[in-house]
């Protein structure tokens, strides 16, 4: 070879293209060491699209409050399994008014005379840090009155960054929550899925007053919404304990000790500063371990909306809150609407059907209905979530399947249903939310950011107001005909709730 001759780069590229062409002839679906090899498609951008290659999505269920799915559009070929049949003939244990009726009636009352209406919004990381709920609360409080951020657990993963309230706390609290592997029966989880124990004072500690070393939690109002910047009144929720326990409450520079006299499973103590306060500090002098749950910042009139976020939750683990405890909260908190917003921790391409999920969540809804008999239940269908399929981001095939299960869940339990997926724009809306400028969602193609959350809150508020203006008739009892062939075994293979590292 003559090294003084110029090399031919064309040959290099031609050979490369040729080799890639050969690789593209490889049979699709080849695996090496269990990993499926992706096909080489050099000409993918210029060849005709194979219509069969485009992933077919199941038709997502329609929007609206527990609209019964027309039987003819979803009639499944497979025969219903017996568990399904049994489930659909069972009536809810506590019949409520159905759909959103109970809530809408309460809301009309609020509009008329300012009487309070309380909403619980349960969810996963989608609502962490008051995302969605912060904006929704603000819209509702603007429209119907009311102040305060609602229930705040003593300690939170979002304490530093929740836009609507700032929390600090001593590091000596003991916490149990929905993902604690083994829960002590004597300290049941509260409605938020947490229970906190302040450090019990040693016998040597001073008996009078609250020593400086007591466990404490401090809350400071702030953020973009005027209605939550000051604390008009607050309620402290705590469990039973020693009779001489007390809490030292500091607002506006005034320290007031209060005896923790309640001995029921859940006790509420009303705290009302003389003038609305910016900060509130609670220091606990407890002599035996005593469950403390959280503080609710609210007003005696208008809307209170509680954010109960728990990351990684599929919703199913809410059954870890003992029913007795939930019912005890029902005695002190008169909810008129309970929103259940889950799904991103459940939807996964490997799951072909979600009958097991609908069944597991039926238990959750049933308990909510019994614990809070005046509350309407609203199931929020999951948001769009993308997967990368053959190099392209598109709606994960599990999303419409899970939505169908969520709608079925609502139907069977006489709950309302709001299809967030459709409200976002339906198929592949997540891709456009990520790509929009400024972006509405994060690059995990699952979570929305604060702009996206603001948009969702607006959509949900509009939906609620539309129902408020023109309530659709209550849900029919017509059973859903969509069935899933998988049994409850599927639930055991996917149990994200108990994992210590969870999605």
């Amino acid at each position: 070879m003559n090294s003084s001759r110029s090399q031919n780069p064309f040959l290099l590229v031609l050979l490369t293209v040729g080799l890639l062409g050969l690789l593209s002839l490889l049979k699709p679906g080849l695996t090496v060491g269990g990993v499926e090899l992706r096909p080489v498609r050099l000409l993918a951008d210029i060849l005709r699209k194979d219509p069969t290659a485009v992933a077919r999505l199941d038709a997502p269920p329609p929007n609206g409050p527990a609209t019964a799915t027309p039987a003819d559009t979803v009639a499944a070929a497979a025969p219903p399994d017996s568990a399904e049949v049994a489930a659909k003939t069972r009536a809810p244990s506590v019949p409520n008014l159905g759909g959103l009726d109970s809530f809408l009636a309460a809301l009309r009352q609020t509009k008329a005379d300012g009487s309070p209406v309380r909403i619980a919004y349960f969810g996963d990381s989608m609502i962490e840090g008051d995302l969605i709920t912060g904006d929704l609360r603000n819209s509702l409080q603007t429209e119907f009155g009311g102040t305060g951020v609602g229930y705040v657990p003593i300690n939170s993963i979002t304490a530093d960054f929740r836009g609507t309230i700032h929390q600090t706390f001593s590091d000596d609290w003991k916490e149990y929550n929905l993902v604690t592997p083994k829960l002590p029966t004597e300290y049941p989880l509260g409605i938020s899925g947490h229970v906190f124990l302040p450090r019990a004072l040693a016998s040597g500690d001073s008996t009078a007053g609250t020593p400086a070393s007591a466990s404490w939690a401090e809350f400071r109002g702030g953020g973009p919404f005027a209605a939550v910047r000051r604390f008009e009144q607050a309620q402290l929720f705590y469990g039973p304990g020693a009779a001489r326990d007390e809490v030292l409450v500091t607002t506006n520079g005034h320290e007031v000790p209060h005896a923790l006299t309640g001995s029921r499973a859940v006790n509420a103590m009303l705290l009302k500063p003389g003038v609305p306060a910016r900060t509130m500090r609670l220091a606990f002098a407890t002599h035996r371990p005593r469950p403390v749950y959280g503080v609710s910042f609210e007003s005696s009139r208008g809307v209170v909306l509680d954010n109960f976020s728990f990351r990684g939750n599929s919703g199913m683990s809410l059954t870890r809150i003992p029913f007795k405890e939930l019912a005890a909260f029902g005695k002190v908190l008169d909810y008129r609407l309970i929103i259940l917003h889950y799904g991103v921790n459940v939807a996964s391409a490997s799951n072909k059907s979600y009958g097991w999920y609908a069944r597991a969540m039926t238990r959750v809804v049933d308990r909510m209905q019994r614990a809070f008999p005046n509350a309407s239940i609203l199931i929020v269908g999951m948001s769009d979530k993308s997967s990368r399929i053959d190099g392209e981001f598109q709606t994960d095939p599990s999303v419409p399947r899970l939505l169908a299960a969520q709608q079925q869940l609502a139907q069977r339990n006489h709950a309302a249903f709001w299809n967030l997926f459709e409200a976002m724009g339906g198929e592949n809306s997540m891709v456009s939310w990520v790509e929009e400028s400024p972006a509405l969602a994060n690059k995990d193609y699952t979570h929305v950011n604060s702009r996206g959350a603001h948009k969702i809150a607006g959509l949900l508020f509009d939906f609620l107001m539309q129902q408020y203006a023109h309530p659709t008739p209550g849900p029919t009892t017509k059973p859903a005909t969509r069935v899933d062939s998988s049994g409850p075994a599927a639930a055991q293979t996917y149990a994200p709730d108990t994992a210590s590292a969870i999605q």
Partner: protein, 496 residues
């Protein structure tokens, strides 16, 4: 034959034509299948035109303009405009004997060049700054940033300035100049090629030696690996998520996000530069190296001799030295360093976070100079290791501002690292994002390879047959395809 016919039958000509049209969502980048095929066609004709100097230059220029049009649409006229204007300014400056006139012409050239850059890149930045200061509402202009404008304006600026300083003779043929300005390998993302490096190569017949060919293969293969495998994968599957919402992640995840981003930006930027240099080499043109294992630096001064060299040397020659450099006393030198880096920061993007990034580097360069002067640290391994550790972490710290986009996000990242570190989560985090951290680790490992080894590899590659070379490139492209179409990592939020 049948295969070919079925292939032809399957080609969707609308889609094929669509590939050639301007599409802001799919700009022309090297690591795409379309570019590979286009480049093959381009090279076929290029080889045929090897002996025809003028035709070859025109052909490459036309291709370059198309390349730019594909990413920026009608903005390619800006490139044409810039070419015509600077070509003439340089000639007028060179042909003028009056110093005043030369100065005037240079000033006009600077106004046109920087004015263009300023208008497209910084108008809204300064308008919103004005609004923030005065409280008066200012309309926001809807200007799209022309791709690569920061690179080619600096390139033409260096040409005019060199002509003004009599360091080079101006080109007397506008087609030669157009070839230099628009040369597609480095057009949109650098390196910023100096006229003095490139112009002498224009009249020569391109020659590709065995060594050059080996070097090109290594550069392209390594560049693709860095850009399309390491950088793209770790950004999509980890780093972007952290910087989207730092508060959702523990401090350890944020810290790994910062280390990951340091690797991502290096791989992204240097990888793309390497491909550009490799492609230029295949065409017979030598571009200067742009990155020399910057994270091996043991001082911040050294870092800037190894990081984005074409920019840092540009800033040195056309900003720092004209400001007075080190000729006007120590204090002025430090101020000059600081100012140079401040503007260098702004060059990266119209945002205060970039300004802070530049300011931090500027201040660090001044402190480093002062430190070296006072303490004259020795050269033993411990000092070097300590210097490396401090330099690397300082650079990473600055990257937080570079990547964050807003001060809020940057503060959150720092807060999580300082207040919610939770190092106990490390095993879980690494186990959950194994592929990401394997790639990050691989990136740092490759980075630690001494330059001498790379040269040996390039030499060895040059001795191989073209078939072997093609196999190497094919394997890397095949890996890229595997990674590109792989499913993304599911999101994971840890309890902390």
């Amino acid at each position: 034959m049948d295969l070919l016919r079925s292939l032809l039958d399957n080609i969707d000509f609308d889609r094929l034509l669509g590939q050639f049209a301007y599409s802001p969502k799919s700009p022309m980048i090297f690591n795409t299948g379309f570019f590979l095929l286009l480049f093959l066609g381009f090279l076929g004709i290029y080889q045929l035109l090897r002996g025809h100097h003028r035709a070859r230059l025109l052909y490459v220029t036309a291709f370059s303009l198309f390349f730019y049009y594909k990413s920026s649409g009608w903005y390619f006229l800006l490139l044409v405009f810039s070419t015509i204007v600077e070509y003439n300014f340089a000639l007028w400056i060179a042909d003028s004997s009056s110093q005043t006139k030369r100065k005037l012409l240079l000033t006009l050239s600077l106004i046109v060049n920087l004015g263009m850059l300023f208008y497209f890149k910084y108008t809204n930045f300064f308008l919103s700054g004005y609004q923030a200061l005065t409280g008066q509402p200012v309309p926001v202009l809807h200007v799209l940033l022309p791709v690569g404008i920061s690179f080619y304006t600096f390139q033409t600026l260096s040409y005019t300035l060199d002509v003004y300083r009599n360091q080079i003779k101006p080109l007397r043929n506008i087609w030669d100049f157009a070839f230099f300005v628009s040369f597609f390998p480095q057009l949109v993302a650098g390196p910023i090629v100096r006229a003095s490096d490139f112009i002498p190569q224009i009249p020569k017949k391109p020659f590709l030696s065995r060594e050059d060919m080996g070097r090109a293969v290594v550069l392209i293969a390594a560049g693709l690996f860095k850009k399309a495998i390491i950088s793209d994968y770790i950004s999509l599957n980890y780093v972007d998520r952290i910087f989207d919402m730092p508060t959702r992640y523990s401090g350890i995840e944020n810290l790994l996000g910062v280390y990951g981003y340091a690797m991502q930006i290096y791989c992204d930027f240097s990888g793309y530069s390497d491909i550009a240099i490799g492609i230029a080499l295949l065409l017979g043109y030598k571009l200067p190296p742009n990155f020399l294992s910057p994270y091996q630096s043991t001082s911040i001064t050294e870092f800037w001799r190894r990081w984005h060299i074409s920019l840092s040397s540009w800033l040195r020659d056309y900003l720092y030295i004209p400001l007075g450099g080190n000729r006007k006393g120590v204090v002025r030198q430090y101020i000059n360093l600081f100012l140079t880096m401040l503007l260098g920061g702004l060059w990266h993007g119209a945002s205060l976070t970039f300004v802070l990034w530049g300011a931090l580097h500027g201040a660090a360069l001044a402190v480093d100079k002062l430190f070296q002067k006072i303490f004259k640290p020795g050269d033993n391994w411990f000092i070097k290791l300590l210097g490396w550790f401090i330099t690397f972490h300082f650079v990473c710290f600055c990257w937080i501002f570079f990547r964050a986009g807003t001060f809020d996000i940057a503060t959150q990242v720092i807060h999580q690292i300082t207040h919610n570190l939770r190092p106990d989560l490390l095993p879980q985090v690494v186990a959950s994002f194994r592929a990401v951290f394997v790639l990050v680790a691989l990136g740092y490992l490759l980075h630690a390879i001494p330059d001498g080894f790379t040269f040996q590899l390039e030499g060895a590659m040059g001795c191989r047959s073209v078939v072997t070379q093609a196999v190497v490139v094919t394997v890397v492209i095949w890996l890229v395809i595997q990674v590109k179409s792989a499913e993304i990592q599911p999101f994971i939020y840890f309890q902390f």
